[in-house]
Symmetry: C2
Subunit: 428 residues, 2 copies
């Protein structure tokens, strides 16, 4: 059988895993696609660099164009990262009729629709399972497993770094700064952790998942984002005492034909299956009208898990190629995008207030909630452990952002409230 | 666009769900397959029966052959159940070039290879996602999501009835008989619950999953089975005190090129993600060499969750039909089946003994384990709560069945052992 020749852009962590799987599982892979798979050419930054894997040096090049323009290569596997320059490589590869497998969430979140349109035009495949939640086949699940259902909610722990940090803070009662430092030392967090800890990485992944789940073109700017850098160990301790775990959740919801997508630290009821997803693991919870609650759990990053998804995509792309159906299976988003206006977005809130410790304060505060039609699920007043104020901890029922903004605005004019210490979304 | 005509065999719980989804989600489904989907003819036992759904009475027939021989029907959806007669219907439908979607685990576990061979011969599709774990797209995940990986272990809670019973026993400390009665009253268990509680239903599903995961033809007789009817509330109470939950687990394992598949009540470490899957929910944990630990969770039965999988299969089958690739995507098992011999199967054991309450007994017993090379992870001796014996609770390290059989044989000749009360597999 004539081998299928593959070009690889990038030989970092994931690229190395791809080479390992393609070489190590060659027998199984050939059985699945009907011919050998050969990695023909690999673009790297520096051909001289020492590597964890033996690769014939003839295969290496420092010029990505050499891979993209290679006449024998049918499929390009892009695991180099980057956005603008990488987009140029991908578009040129598609122009030349090459199929694409990519693990690049930034690329797909920012330029996915442009790339997929070009692919459709050129009848090429673009597969990107590894771009979200590493080894968990969540993109296939949304496209095929739930093709029959109408999805109403996707909640994801899709960033391992922040889940590691929050898990450690929760289990060991240590501060954000301490754990971040440790995560950086262990290689779980980057030297500049902004993209992870401020929620941007998760937001990109949620844009990809929401696009697939809601059949509409969700862009990064549609996702409201806040990160975990201001979460304190006290916040987590309050969460646990009330029966919640603090998680950085991406949440995409649909109500009728309107959607909303956000990423924020969220207090999740301990009984919810996503609350017990700990450490660097990822999980995506999906609720469909017919299927109900489902959850998909696994490693969200790392050499081999991510490479598993990349090579599974490669198998699919090669099978399509052999069946002559490349580029014919993708379904472009077919629904108009209608975002729920900010004010109408409703959820439950946790609010921690520091107040004067005197009579009538609680009455004043609950009166404000009543005035703006925010009903309360639980209210606890207790002495503050650290200073002479009292603390009031409130969990609301579903409340609109518009009404909660009014409540908070009103709080500012209230002398008895010394500080609105924390406000979090609550789920489950 | 010319509609795709579908024939339905059965209009029970799942069949009703299929009609609801096909009618209710018609707009989305058409967007996915490119033409309307029409349920043209439905075979039922009794056309006069009152139903939960309005169906044009012209569509109903009491003769399945009328559906199978219908010239305009391209796809048969089989949700009637049954085995031998149903196999005849399916084989005849394939003979006539019709594609099949089935939710029938019994059929697929017993005659899957015969049906899939006929399908390959006739270039027809046979999809059966709904046959295992209801709404969880685990079959797609094994076939496509993990096509690149070598799976070493599949552990499934794949029977909702028994999981409901064990969860209730565990959470409420009640007996098997009490919960079974309640489950029957609630409709979670059949009047004759044998197939569920004795593990046969789970064994059929594990045969299907192991066939896909290990690429070899696993038959029902390859699965060793024991059910939950002899699990006592005391057993569960011991399990919990030691940090385990009792679950009916299907376990398929591969060691090098040998496999073993079993279903048995198993004590699972509480920290394992599958230990917290409760009630009628199902979950399948999959370990791959590259991807590591993953788990897939959702409703394992019920009208709408199961119908979600059936209609997702219908979408896939229709898309293949339109792309002209029907029957070309299935990969037949390509590996020789080599079962690990019974004696070589190794796992951890929990053993509860009732013994004479006198000096030297523990030494005698631990000596027997040592003699047969079974090393112990923990040993607890305590007074028996209910009678004058003492209890000894032992958890072993991995031990071969051969050695454990010898240990148990030796126990019989030991006067100080009054009773080997319970023996369970331990996981995690």
């Amino acid at each position: 059988m004539k081998p299928i020749k593959v070009g690889l852009l990038g030989l970092g962590t994931v690229g190395t895993g791809v080479v390992r799987i393609v070489e190590g599982n060659q027998e199984d892979l050939s059985s699945q696609v009907g011919s050998p798979i050969v990695i023909e050419k690999i673009a790297v930054k520096n051909t001289e660099k020492a590597r964890n894997i033996n690769v014939n040096s003839d295969k290496l090049t420092e010029d990505p164009w050499e891979v993209i323009r290679h006449p024998d290569i049918d499929v390009i596997v892009e695991v180099m990262g980057g956005v603008d320059q990488t987009k140029e490589y991908i578009l040129e590869a598609l122009e030349r009729g090459k199929h694409i497998v990519t693990a690049n969430k930034d690329l797909m979140a920012l330029y996915g629709s442009e790339i997929l349109a070009k692919a459709a035009e050129k009848r090429c495949d673009v597969y990107y399972e590894a771009s979200v939640a590493g080894g968990i086949p969540i993109i296939r699940t949304l496209i095929e497993g739930f093709s029959s259902d109408r999805i109403t909610k996707i909640m994801g722990i899709v960033n391992g770094t922040t889940n590691y940090i929050l898990t450690k803070m929760s289990q060991e009662g240590v501060s954000y700064e301490e754990v971040l430092k440790e995560a950086q030392d262990l290689g779980y967090a980057e030297a500049d952790p902004t993209s992870d800890v401020e929620g941007l990485d998760a937001a990109r992944k949620m844009a990809i998942l929401a696009t697939l789940g809601f059949h509409t073109n969700v862009e990064l700017r549609d996702v409201s984002v806040s990160g975990i850098s201001s979460v304190t160990k006290e916040d987590i301790s309050y969460a646990r005492r009330l029966g919640y775990e603090m998680k950085l959740l991406g949440i995409a919801e649909r109500q009728d034909d309107e959607i909303t997508i956000s990423v924020q630290p969220t207090m999740v009821k301990k009984q919810h299956p996503i609350a017990s997803v700990n450490g660097v693991f990822n999980a995506v919870y999906v609720h469909g009208e017919a299927v109900g609650d489902t959850m998909f759990y696994g490693a969200g990053a790392g050499e081999m898990p991510t490479a598993t998804s990349v090579v599974a995509d490669l198998v699919s792309v090669i099978r399509n190629l052999k069946l002559g159906v490349s580029g014919l299976k993708a379904i472009a988003p077919y629904k108009e995008k209608r975002l729920i206006s900010d004010e109408e977005i409703k959820y439950k809130y946790f609010i921690l207030l520091h107040v004067d410790d005197k009579a009538g304060v609680l009455a004043q505060i609950t009166q404000i909630f009543a005035e703006y039609n925010v009903s309360l699920a639980s209210v606890v007043q207790q002495p503050n452990e650290f200073n002479p104020d009292a603390e009031i901890i409130i969990v609301t029922h579903d409340a609109s952002k518009a009404n909660m903004d009014k409540v908070q605005k009103h709080f500012e004019s209230l002398d008895v409230i010394r500080k609105v210490k924390s406000v979090y979304r609550v789920e489950g």
